[in-house]
Symmetry: C2
Subunit: 204 residues, 2 copies
């Protein structure tokens, strides 16, 4: 295949494919066609074929995609074939829920540290981690952590992000309801559950 720019939308869908192929593996399926997979995921078969083809020819003509090797390929593309450590900032209810959410582990993520600014939380244990003082956030520099998850109020987010930017953080999953200003070298994904819910009444 000739070089083409890979659409951002394709990248966003890759983790979904990875999850699907992982699940197929646990079901002991050997292969799956684009139309069968499309059915499961609620999308169109050509979309799946085009998405996967951006990264190479993984399928077998006349058969479909081999489950195990395609899963491995996608894991490699997304760099999820090695454990990715992440720091969680915010040990409130949402932070605690995230810290113990098994979904991250299934993608190879490891919540390797938790920080908060609340003295009553610092020192307490959440899952396997002890909550640390946000003032000491720069200790993550030496801990091979390049991802951050922000579960703190919007008005506290920007200063924390400025701190993270000085600590080799390269990607941020932002659960605060605000836009973050970051250097171009940092990729941010922002999710506000209330905003997502906010579109639904319009369609009713």
């Amino acid at each position: 295949m000739n070089y083409q720019k890979i659409p951002d939308e394709t990248i966003k869908r890759m983790p979904m494919y990875l999850r699907a192929f992982s699940m197929l593996k646990t079901e002991n399926r050997d292969s799956i066609s684009s139309s069968q997979l499309a059915e499961r995921l609620g999308m169109s078969p050509p979309q799946i074929r085009k998405d996967l083809s951006y990264f190479g020819a993984f399928g077998t003509r006349g058969v479909g995609y081999p489950v195990a090797s395609t899963a491995d390929q996608i894991r490699g593309i997304l760099k999820l074939d090695v454990t990715q450590k992440a720091v969680l900032v915010g040990a409130g209810r949402l932070g605690a829920a995230i810290a113990e959410y098994p979904g991250f582990a299934s993608f190879g993520f490891d919540i390797a540290a938790i920080f908060d600014n609340d003295p009553s939380k610092i020192g307490t244990k959440i899952g396997k981690n002890v909550v640390e003082d946000i003032a000491k956030i720069d200790t993550i520099k030496s801990r091979d952590i390049h991802l951050a998850i922000l579960a703190i109020p919007a008005d506290a987010a920007q200063p924390v992000v400025d701190g993270l930017a000085d600590c080799c953080i390269k990607g941020i999953l932002n659960l605060s309801a605000c836009h973050l200003a970051v250097p171009k070298s940092i990729k941010v994904v922002t999710i506000d559950l209330a905003m997502e819910l906010g579109t639904l009444p319009y369609y009713m």
Copy 2:
């Protein structure tokens, strides 16, 4: 303005605009230009003008958008000018975090009921709600609830959704890591935090 189809992407951004205008109101700003707003939200000025213009001419030429009335307009468009009741299914850690998340209230949402299937949770209180037995989900029919938030494991989601479909639910915010099959009359927004985080290592 002539009729045009309003892009889905525009609808997705409207709650963000509403949040921004609400915040500007608390800051006692009278008006804001598209470029100032773009700066705050990390987007382009023409994008904002085009989005808002799909719904009418809210701005004042030479000045910008009047904060209070534009906020009201957007609230009306999104049908967030009346309280929208929602049922939360799943009273685990994530469900509990959602039940007490103040962001929903600020958009006019009211978590009016919580259901779970775990006997040890049924009867306990989370915020102002008492957790009810999922077997009695059909009681929501008579309670003017048309939105649902799903915070349950993926393998339990589909049967619950089938039940909700029989209960006048018209919109679902799905936090389970799976695709949901629903009738066309129901709008689903699915968010899987692990999937969102899954794209970040690719960009590092």
